[in-house]
Amino acid sequence: MKKSKSSRILIITFLILPILQLLVFSYIPILCNLYLSFTNYKGIGTPLFIGLENYKRLLTDTQYIKLFKNCLWYMLAAIPQLVFAFVLAVFVNGKFRGLSVVKSILIIPYLLNGVIVSTIFIIFFNNSGTLNAILDFIGLDSFKHQWLQDLKLVNPSIASISIWRYYGMNFIMFFGALQTIPSELFEAAAVDGCKKWQEILYISIPSIRNVLFINILLSVSGSIQVFEIPYIMLNGANGTVTPVIQIQQSAFAENRVGFAAALSILVFVIVLIAVGLQNVLSKKGDKQR
């Protein structure tokens, strides 16, 4: 008990800086944002209270509704992304020649930053770029398009990049989860004369159901926060503005801090729902196990 005073000193000294960092750069800003979202704050001067005006504009003005519609493309792209990652994980989970080479290649996109990925895909989608050159090469000239200029195609085009960029993350998670399944399960199944596809359907998928859910919700919360690809590739031109690009423009270029705060809160709430669901689901899964 003599030690209790020294333990208190240690607890305080070890916790003070990290907690301070947390409060100043996460909690206080989000609370300030909530307050500012009800004002017309311009970055200087006194914020004037305007009630729900900012939110009303966000939810009624078609220009701002479009921001969230753009996000839907990214959510849509998450479906092939997750399926692709899962099939890959199933195939890679085993022993075969060339395994390590395949793993090394598959992880490449995960290691590249947004600027590099964006540049690669500017070259890919350019009018005389990789995609059109390939279409030419295999005789599908009629499918050639101005992928980044055509207003109908630009959003699906750049949203599809996220398949290439992010599947690696899902793949690693699925792969890791598959490896934790006890091998006795597979051995028992083998004794019972189980086929490979049955093994996948009745053992692999149910065992990693949790990780599948987590990845789906990660994709949803990621889609709402899309920034780098449309910002770096097009600077939000051709109707590719996303909520986060709009937050930056409103807050730092147009000095509409109050409005940017309202949009931030809206994004925050959507992420909150997605991450909240993810937590509830993974807790439920733990109890079942």
């Binding site: 070890f14 290649i105 930053n113 290439w164 890791g176 051995e187 925050f268």
Partner: protein
Amino acid sequence: MIQESKLYRILRYVFLLAACIFVIIPVVPVVYMAFKTGVEYSSTNVLTPPSNWLNFYNFAYAIRVGKLGRALMNTAVILGISLSLQILFTTMVSYVLHRFEFRGKKIVMTLFTLTMFIPVVTTQTVVFQIIYRMRLVNKMPSVIILYSGVGIVGIYIMFNLLASISKELDESALIDGASYFTIYRRIILPLLKPACTTLLILNGIGMYNDFFIPNLYLRKNVQTFTVALYQFFGSTATPFEIVSAAILLGIIPIGIVYLFLQKYIYYGLAGAVKS
């Protein structure tokens, strides 16, 4: 293990081959371009290999004009300091939260847990004002302060390991007259090394590749590699063959790290998911 049928094995090879092509195809023209001359770039198809694989002009140009060497150094300094601070803080917080009972412990734990609900992109309108008032815009400490925050994933990775370190070890050291700090420094910290490696790699890749934060706070004076690369091809309309060379240069450091630490990346990420 269930016998894999011949069909399954063929299916696997076909699918994996297709996947590898899918990954590599967009990158191939970039590699080609980096070795092409300006004239060659505009006169040949993107899928045509360069005529001279030893044409390093583009690389030299990118390094000289893009100031990419300097930017890489900046990134290295920021990463070095941020990662050291972050990992140190994470071990400290985890040690205290795992080994001590005290009033308000639940609140502290909740504070750290709930930060994962607050995406970075939704707080920067206000954080920028704070950093601005601290007079840190366009100075390295701005990004370092933001990067050194303790995340809940890190805490859980540490908890996993701390649970396997016997508390009796702590107690016997305490009886021998060691202070709590000595226990942390001499017993806990060395044993937490594997968890630190995992965190180092996970967050190191994240910070190296981050664009959002440095693009807000370090536009001038001390650009990180991502920001320098962005400005290099964004504002000055640099030719694609030069940009391609710059991209390859940017991949080299992470490629080297990857070659040496491949297995940690796989197991680190998988472990982070489990916890």
